[in-house]
Amino acid sequence: MSATMSEMTPAIAVTNLRKVYSGKAAVDGLSLNVPRGSFFGFLGPNGAGKSTTIRMLTGLIPATSGTIELLGLPMPAEETAIKQRIGLVPDDSLLFDRLTGLEFLEFVGRMYSLERPLARQRAVELLELFELSDEGRKIIGEYSKGMRKRVAMAASLIHRPELFLMDEPFEGVDAVGARLMKDILLDQVKHGATIFLTSHVLEVVERLCDHAAIINDGKIVAEGSMAELRSGSETLEEVFVRTVGADREYGKLDWLG
């Protein structure tokens, strides 16, 4: 495939993706196209299949059926080539607690074939960018949750990927940290990268993303640009609540008043 053709393909193209656990489909016939250079929000209630989808995209778990193409390359056939070009911030920590922040970033850089001095230099710069210079020589096990997220995001940037897959990247991050991370991500999109993130925080998605999809019970229930999704006067929250079928009265307990 030529470079031009490759650039024309979506950053993520998923067709009829299924993942079945003990006879129950966690992801059920999911099809999705994420345009290149987009900031894509992947929304859904708890247990809807967001993390399972992202784990299949990263190759952490195999799909039961369906096809995945990332950056025009088929997964898992071109797994190594794809991994070289994506940056990942998973929900569970991908951090080695007994390394310092600096050591970890350098290590990750070397995993992506960066020469040691270059990996070291980028690690120092990333720590500075994420305002972690003072903490860089501390062991990651001592970091707060927000700091861990910042290091994980810094690690996802070290090899300058074209596509970012992020599972709840802002969870546990304070407002200042979140602002910093958002600015960095927006800057990446401006420079041509594609970002695919899951989040529970609809305001974040609404503010950052230009495209979004809503998943419920393993199926896509709404998809499109933010403008398309919010057609009319609905907010994203209203769209979300309506599409996942949560716009009903909840039960009440007498003793709770």
Partner: protein, 518 residues
């Protein structure tokens, strides 16, 4: 997945039942021995000294038990219950009850003493109130003291690296019977050293049980119980108010010093990335885990216990010829529990990186094995030094033989370990010393001698044919077999890891249960 896990759990339960039965069987036997000892009227003249000595040992064991548990990081953290409206007094009661419930082994020994005295015609049922009150007072004092000691040590272990020093002390205490044996120290000589004056708690309560110095015994016993109650309540209160993680954070050192940094970077000078980066990461990680450091220290030292009987027999003992390789291989086996039998245990959820980054899983496994091999170099050096201190033959030729045998054993065990690491992974908490799958332990014990059969064969051939050439030849064959075994096992482990990555990561991401321990 579930049926396999269910089978593994059942297997673990059976193993636990057998070990529990064995453990309490040993204490039951001790209790029975005590009963026989104290029911004999012929020894009554020495009962004061004897009972004081035994109760001193029991006190030591009683107090050291919770300390070991605390050093393992395996005790229940009652601070977590402070989120609920439970009065501190009741929490203290829970702690005391926990100490009582975990003292059943000692109760077996004490019961033996009590029954023995009641069966003794010189004491009998007439002495029952004294015997029982003395024993109960002794138990109460120890339970209270152990609650306080545990609370105190838990704080101490979090704050400092005393945990490791303490472990070395435990090792010394554990080998002390062997050392007494080695130095021909007689029990009667040791008994004379026991402080048996009534001011000591074991002596006061022992005397009360024997109806000797009853009033001073009661007074001193009561005083010691009051001291124990005050101490345990005070320490428990301090423990509840203790902010462990914050205090620990202040103590932890961050970046390594220059020398360590050079050593860590050594693999990068010899090997290409990503292998070098992975080995470097392993070395940095392992050396920062106190549990590894302790196991490493013990792996260097414990081997000597195996050869003590041969040392005692003198320099011409035939086993001494094999002592150095045996000590080294035993050291490797001890390291296995926290390294190659469960290679990804300390990585926990971060092990997903090996599937996310553009590296071969094969490289990750090889790096883990190579880093253990790197650790074996100083281990063999230390084992040799210890062997020399105990006059175990350790000529240059013997050292070379040890390195070769250790290397061959490593090939076989790493091969098996790689398979067990991906098929039976278990998340390990670096702070917990005792966290080790029962099935892994049993696997280690069962499999270790079997796979080393070619090495054993080489030694057998040397002793039968008296030829070093035959010995070297069979060792060479063993090394080739080990190499083939390692590569085949590595391929199998990689294939298995890729196929089972989901369950592998799920198992490694398992956190502590809701009733979390420190």
């Amino acid at each position: 997945m579930r049926p396999r896990r269910g089978r593994a759990l059942r297997g673990g339960a059976v193993f636990s039942a057998i070990t529990t039965l064995f453990f309490y069987g040993v204490f039951g036997f001790l209790g029975f021995s005590m009963m026989l000892l104290f029911s004999s009227p012929d020894l009554a003249g020495r009962f004061v000294q004897l009972l004081s000595g035994i109760l001193l040992l029991v006190t030591g064991y009683w107090q050291i038990g919770p300390v070991i548990t605390a050093s393992f990081g395996a005790s229940i953290d009652l601070r977590k219950l402070m989120a609920y409206p439970v009065p501190r007094r009741q929490l203290f009661l829970v702690e005391v009850l926990l100490r009582t419930m975990t003292s059943f082994d000692i109760v077996l020994v004490l019961s033996g003493i009590v029954i023995g005295l009641l069966r003794n015609p010189l004491y009998g049922w007439a002495a029952a109130p004294y015997v029982i009150v003395g024993a109960v007072a002794f138990a109460a004092m120890n339970v209270l003291f152990s609650a306080g000691v545990k609370s105190w040590m838990e704080r101490f272990f979090v704050r400092t690296r005393f945990k490791e020093v303490f472990f070395l002390i435990v090792v010394l205490v554990m080998i002390s019977p062997q050392l007494f044996f080695l130095t021909n120290t007689k029990a009667s000589g040791l008994l004379r050293l026991v402080p048996s004056q009534v001011v000591w708690p074991w002596a006061a309560m022992g005397r009360l049980m024997l109806r000797e110095s009853v009033l001073p015994g009661i007074l001193m016993g009561a005083a010691w119980i009051c001291v124990a109650l005050f101490f345990s309540r005070r320490q428990f209160g301090k423990m509840l108010a203790f902010d462990g993680p914050v205090s620990a954070r202040k103590e932890k050192k961050a970046a390594p010093d220059r020398l360590s940094e050079r050593l860590f970077r050594l693999p990068s000078r010899l090997l290409p990335d990503p292998l070098a980066a992975l080995i470097e990461k392993e070395l940095r990680t392992l050396t920062r885990i106190s549990r590894f450091r302790m196991a490493y220290g013990m792996s260097c030292f414990f081997g000597v216990l195996l050869v003590v009987p041969s040392i005692r027999r003198g320099p011409h003992s035939p086993f001494l010829q094999y002592a150095l390789p045996v000590m080294a291989v035993y050291g490797l086996l001890m390291l296995g529990q926290i390294t190659f039998w469960n290679s990804f245990g300390f990585d926990r959820s971060a092990a997903q990186g090996y599937f996310c980054w553009p590296v071969r899983f094969r490289d990750a496994l090889i790096a883990k094995n190579v880093s253990v091999m790197v650790m074996l170099i100083p281990q063999v050096a230390l084992v040799t030094l210890i062997a020399r201190a105990f006059h175990v033959p350790s000529s240059p030729g013997k050292i070379v033989e040890t390195i070769i045998v250790d290397g061959i054993a490593a090939l076989f065990w790493f091969g098996l370990g790689n398979i067990s690491s991906v098929r039976m992974p278990r998340a390990m908490n670096p702070e917990k010393m005792n966290q080790m799958a029962n099935k892994l332990q049993s696997l280690t014990i069962l499999v270790a001698p079997v796979v080393l059969l070619p090495v054993v064969l080489a030694y057998w051939a040397r002793s039968v044919f008296g030829s070093e050439i035959v010995f070297a030849g069979i060792l060479l064959i063993a090394a080739i077999l080990g190499g083939i075994f390692y590569w085949v096992a590595l391929d199998s482990a990689v294939k298995s890891a890729i196929e089972r990555r989901e369950s592998l990561l799920q198992e490694l991401s398992r956190a502590d249960g809701p009733i979390s321990t420190t």
